[in-house]
């Protein structure tokens, strides 16, 4: 009797898990394995080109300083964007979770989610219109201010950071919001009744309790930003060459899939390494 119960449980678990895992296998694991396979080939095995197994694509990373320089540049971009998104997103999430209530909260929430409903390429091109010299920002500021200012942020690192923060800040807001909402208001009241200042409450009560959400948001942002290529290419101009754009070039422009795949896996390895190093911090935040 007990055995059949366990079996039935197992079936139920299998039934609930299999759609997701079959989907992951087909949509992510298989293409990723194909890419891993490509990364060890000497040429793209299409048509009747000759190819062989090789580790040269991985060696190529170490043969020039180009790739390492760009990878470091991308990682720095990842940290910058993540830090700014956290600074911008957390206060917003706090207000949404603890200060405003009811309909207005729904409306504010909608405004946060709204960018998600438009295509990312459209968002980036709208930024291009706003940031360029003689663009919306330039004309708008000059219409308001009594003195002339020239705002031309387009094709600079700032433009890339602005575009990326805008694209990813909703992740921080959503994850922090959920963590902040779970904090019992009585805890805050208790701290206040004991004479804690607002800053102490934030530092000793709210921040530690919502840290898991904040960090989850940070990880969600950091990983795609390090590999981003579209935003740097469109907004960055001359300074917009990053590790991600070089990978894209290998696939799109020079048709060297094996090298592109190898560079991608090196990126994956480095990102995993960074997360592994950060994992003690991430883990302590969860307890």
């Amino acid at each position: 009797m007990a055995v059949s119960l366990v079996n039935r449980d197992r079936l139920r678990i299998l039934g609930l898990l299999s759609p997701a895992y079959i989907w992951l296998t087909v949509a992510i694991f298989l293409p990723l394995s194909a890419m891993l396979y490509f990364s060890f080939l000497s040429d793209v095995p299409f048509g009747d080109t000759e190819w062989a197994y090789t580790a040269e694509n991985y060696a190529a990373f170490f043969q020039t300083s180009t790739y390492a320089t760009l990878l470091w540049k991308s990682i720095r971009l990842g940290f910058t964007v993540t830090a700014i998104a956290m600074l911008v997103g957390f206060p917003c999430a706090y207000v949404l979770a603890k200060v405003i209530q009811g309909r207005s909260r729904e409306a504010m929430f909608l405004l946060v989610i709204l960018p998600f409903w438009s295509n990312s390429l459209v968002r980036i091109f709208s930024w291009a219109i706003v940031l360029r010299g003689n663009g919306v920002l330039d004309l708008g500021l000059n219409a308001i201010l009594p003195f002339d200012v020239e705002v031309n942020l387009m094709f600079s690192t700032s433009a890339i950071v602005i575009g990326l923060v805008h694209s990813y800040v909703p992740y921080v807001i959503l994850t922090s919001y959920l963590a902040l909402q779970a904090i019992d208001d009585n805890l805050i009241d208790a701290a206040r009744s004991m004479g804690a200042t607002k800053l102490t409450i934030l530092w000793r009560v709210i921040l530690p309790l919502s840290l898991p959400g904040l960090l989850a948001g940070a990880v969600l942002i950091f990983v795609p930003v390090v590999g981003s290529f579209m935003e740097p290419r469109i907004l960055g101009g001359r300074v917009g060459t990053y590790y991600g754009t070089v990978i894209e070039d290998q696939f799109v422009a020079v048709f060297n899939w094996p090298l592109g795949a190898a560079l991608s896996f090196i990126l994956l390895a480095v990102v995993l390494l960074i997360l592994a190093i950060a994992s003690p911090v991430l883990k302590s935040a969860q307890t």
Binding site: G47, T66, R132, G133, G236, R238, V239, G240, V254, F255
Partner: protein, 346 residues
């Protein structure tokens, strides 16, 4: 009434006669590149009875792969002269029978005798169109068009310069600026330092014709490399730009129409190529924005103010052009490494 009926019968008889010999030929080309114009294909079918079906490629590599993997599937293929020797060497395309292409007589001999189109000792591609990669300037910033490529390094245009994000094009562009042969670059170090000096001048790289037009229209750029055919379209569209072929020279490309060796419809394929280099077709195509024709008679039939006649029709300009030859994989990789290194250093 009676004559009408007679005419109709005669036309029917002729078209039936033509239908008996009609073939369906399959053309492999870039999409929207001349051969697939509706009116041209309809006229060709009416005149010869042969019908035309198109298939497209997005890169030269894809075109070669399609020829390799589908023998017999294509009857006419557009190949850039820099790739003709490779296609010929792999046995993908066959020799052209010049006697079947009457209009070939009007193509200047230097094009017909082009070394790459005559890979293997015989004509393997009929010269069709050619064009330049040079540069264009924003006429709002220039009262008079510059005559030297050095304008790219002029500090007064810092942050108003653009070149295309393409390793081969960047390297060949700098080769021209350093007075070298684009097909035999001896001093790659000079190319690299010339490009390194150019980098701080650059505002952004451009990728497509559309990019280019937007940057120019927004006033982001004063001077940028550009293709002659695209420049002619941008000028027609009203952008304030002027195409320049500097005294140092420009990069030229030549497209030829070839016939796969596996084609079973040789006569129809030759007829189609003859149709495509005919002045009547070209003049009408040029109205819609065409590259320069290889056919001298077609080029001179253009109105005097046409871009292709005004700028590319000048023999002095043509004499400055260095036509692109095949690039070895080894060089291609070297150029890519150089270009990526320069970009990464920014």
């Amino acid at each position: 009434m009676k004559t009408d009926l007679f005419l109709a019968t005669a036309i029917a008889a002729i078209s039936v006669g033509a239908m008996a010999l009609a073939d369906e030929i399959r053309v492999l080309n870039w999409q929207g590149y001349g051969t697939d114009l509706d009116w041209a294909v309809a006229d060709f079918t009416e005149a010869t009875g042969h019908s035309v079906v198109h298939e497209y490629f997005n890169s030269e590599q894809e075109m070669l792969t399609k020829l390799r993997t589908n023998p017999g599937a294509y009857d006419v293929v557009l190949i850039n002269a820099a790739f003709t020797p490779q296609a010929q060497d792999e046995g993908l395309i066959g020799p052209i029978d010049a006697s079947k292409i009457a209009n070939l007589a009007d193509v200047p001999s230097d094009l017909v005798e082009n070394q790459d189109l005559n890979a293997g000792g015989f004509l393997h591609g009929v010269p069709w169109t050619w064009g330049l990669t040079s540069f264009a300037v924003n006429t709002n910033d220039f009262s008079e068009a510059p005559t030297s490529i050095e304008v790219f390094w002029d500090e007064s245009f810092e942050g108003k310069v653009s070149i295309r994000d393409d390793a081969l094009e960047a390297v060949q562009f700098a080769a021209i600026a350093t007075g070298q042969n684009i097909n035999d670059i001896n001093d790659l170090g000079a190319v690299e330092s010339k490009l390194a000096e150019l980098m701080p001048q650059i505002r952004t790289y451009w990728g497509s014709e559309n990019d280019w037009n937007q940057f120019m229209a927004a006033g982001d750029l004063s001077v940028a490399t550009f293709w002659s055919g695209s420049a002619s379209r941008s000028m027609t569209a009203g952008l304030p730009v002027e195409f320049v072929v500097p005294q140092e020279g420009a990069i030229g490309w030549l497209d030829g129409l070839s016939i796969p060796s596996s084609s079973t419809k040789q006569d129809a394929a030759h007829a189609f190529i003859d149709w495509m280099i005919d002045p009547a077709f070209y003049v009408r195509w040029a109205e819609e924005g065409a590259p320069a024709s290889a056919n001298a008679k077609a080029a001179s039939a253009l109105p005097d103010d046409a871009f292709n006649k005004r700028i590319l029709g000048d023999p002095e300009v043509v004499a400055r052009v260095q036509f692109q030859r095949p690039v070895s994989d080894e060089n291609r990789e070297k150029y890519l490494e150089l270009w990526q290194g320069l970009k990464a250093a920014q």
